[in-house]
């Protein structure tokens, strides 16, 4: 039980730093720490493969992309003191708090049935075997989605370059 509270505390602290930190690079690195602590939570819950995948893809590739963009777009010399209109801040926090309250109520009512955690995790081999036989179609659609993302990124990112060469 102590590990649960410790991990939750670490994740909450870094998540708050992502949202409420002044400089964007600090937000990017705290997002990296949040994803790593979520990977630790996955490991503690027993899903070992997902924790390794989370470390490799989320923390090892997506967060690097964010830091790369930070470096390419030098955010430092942007004046960050844009006026913070108070009304938007209050309304936004109010609505989000309402949503949080509703969700918390939902979970609170049936916390007993939810936390009936039977850790009957059968071997991952059977689980993965099911991934590629019964759920093969969604997996192939996800691959086609990745293909579309590859084509889109190459076209969007190198679009400006061709325009420059023409001038």
């Amino acid at each position: 039980m102590a590990a649960d509270i410790l991990l939750t505390f670490i994740t909450v602290v870094f998540a708050l730093m992502v949202v409420f930190s002044k400089r964007t690079v600090v937000a990017a690195f705290s997002l990296l720490m949040t994803l790593l602590s979520i990977a630790m939570i996955y490991f503690q819950l027993g899903t070992v493969f997902l924790s390794a995948v989370q470390v490799l893809i989320n923390a090892g590739a997506i967060a690097i992309l964010f830091v790369f963009v930070m470096m390419l777009i030098n955010l430092e010399n942007f004046t960050n003191n844009r006026e913070k209109n108070k009304t938007k801040l209050i309304i936004a926090t109010f609505t989000v708090l309402v949503i949080l309250g509703v969700l918390a109520l939902v979970i609170n009512n049936n916390i007993e049935t939810l936390s009936l955690v039977n850790l009957a995790d059968n071997s991952m081999k059977a689980l993965f075997e099911k991934l590629f036989t019964t759920y093969y179609l969604p997996f192939e659609m996800a691959t086609v989605l990745l293909l579309a993302a590859i084509v889109a990124c190459v076209v969007i990112a190198s679009h400006g370059k061709k325009a420059e060469e023409k001038q």
Binding site: D4, V18, I41, I73, L114, S115, V117, D121, I156
Partner: protein, 97 residues
């Protein structure tokens, strides 16, 4: 174990708040990624408590989708930055050039 339920909805709502409040596009994408993390954690918790372990495969698909979303989102931000030299939402108001 049950504290993780509250953690996942907290992450989701915090990401939502961040996406609304943040001024520049990259921070919005960061907070979107935070929401993705919260949802994936919820999937695993439900798969654990109901014993229906296939839900963990759903996390695999959310990871693929969030990777594609970040990739395309960031290349759009780069293309926008090359054209307008700024990524602050207040400056990007004019649709037609």
């Amino acid at each position: 174990m049950s504290i993780y339920y509250y953690l996942s909805i907290f992450l989701f709502c915090l990401g939502l708040l961040g996406t609304i409040l943040k001024k520049d596009l990259i921070s919005m994408l960061l907070c979107l990624e935070l929401m993705m993390g919260g949802v994936a954690l919820l999937f695993i918790l439900f798969s654990k408590s109901t014993g229906f372990l296939d839900a963990q495969l759903m996390v695999v698909f959310t990871l693929i989708v969030s990777a594609c979303e970040v990739a395309v989102g960031l290349s759009l931000i780069i293309a926008l930055y090359r054209k307008k030299q700024t990524i602050y939402t207040d400056d990007i108001k004019i649709i037609t050039e």
